[in-house]
């Protein structure tokens, strides 16, 4: 399977926000905990709307939460 070109720092950001749980983050952005797990593990790339919501929860700009790696992109 191809590597996901979108990586993220959600695990690190949760740690810096008082070890916020996946469930807590999921509730705050309106998705299931399993979706947060899939995003953290780079199995699933969220929609732009959800990505902004996650960044908003951490009070960080989008590029601090998600990063695009062109060399992993196989389009």
């Amino acid at each position: 399977m191809a590597t996901n070109p979108i990586s993220n720092n959600i695990r690190k950001l949760r740690f810096y926000h008082d070890e916020m749980t996946q469930k807590e983050l999921a509730d705050r952005v309106g998705v299931t905990r399993q979706t947060i797990v899939a995003i953290e593990n780079a199995k699933y790339s969220p929609s732009l709307e959800l990505a902004f919501r996650i960044a908003h929860v951490f009070g960080a700009p989008l590029e601090e939460v998600f990063a695009y790696n062109p060399k992993d992109d196989s389009f």
Binding site: R11, V31, T32, Q34, T35, V37, A38, K43, Y44
Partner: protein, 162 residues
């Protein structure tokens, strides 16, 4: 919850959606199993001409569709109740996020493709002079098959993450 605990829970526990897919799959297996035996016995017991064969299969498929819908609804209600009692978490069974919707769509696409292959095969059998019963059995087999493939593929996507 620590990272290790989260990781352990992630690897071992089933989400509500996964439980729902498994419950639906078990219900389908049971209903399709009983239905297949019942149809086979009735078919063996009677002798039909062409118009009666069409009537027989038309009724059989309509009854199956009705029974499946009713039992799937009952299964999901029972699952919601049992899940609430066992986990003590009140999850809204109707809640689905964007990943759930995409997984469902991908499952449906695979299911539609399998059924389309079955439909074409059934028509080809008719075109090559096979009796209507062979066509209907093929159609039913692919209808059941597409349902099972959809459930298995959906489950696979949930387990993989997406």
């Amino acid at each position: 919850m620590s990272y290790q605990e989260e990781k352990f829970q992630r690897e071992t526990s089933l989400s509500y959606r996964e439980k729902s897919v498994i419950a639906a799959m078990i219900t389908s297996f049971v209903i399709y199993g009983i239905f297949s035996v019942a149809v086979y016995q009735r078919y063996q017991a009677g002798s039909f001409d062409t118009s009666e064969v069409l009537l027989f299969w038309g009724r059989a498929i309509l009854i199956l569709a009705g029974v499946i819908i009713v039992f799937q609804i009952l299964t999901q209600i029972a699952l919601a109740i049992i899940n609430t009692i066992v986990t003590r978490e009140e999850e809204d069974p109707s809640f689905e996020d964007e990943r759930d919707k995409l997984i469902e769509l991908r499952g449906r696409r695979v299911s539609a493709n399998v059924f389309a292959i079955g439909f074409l095969l059934a028509m080809a059998l008719l075109a090559f002079g096979q009796p209507p019963t062979v066509m209907f059995v093929t159609l039913m087999a692919f209808m059941i098959g597409s349902d099972i493939v959809e459930s298995l593929y959906t489950l696979y996507l949930y387990r993989r993450g997406f």
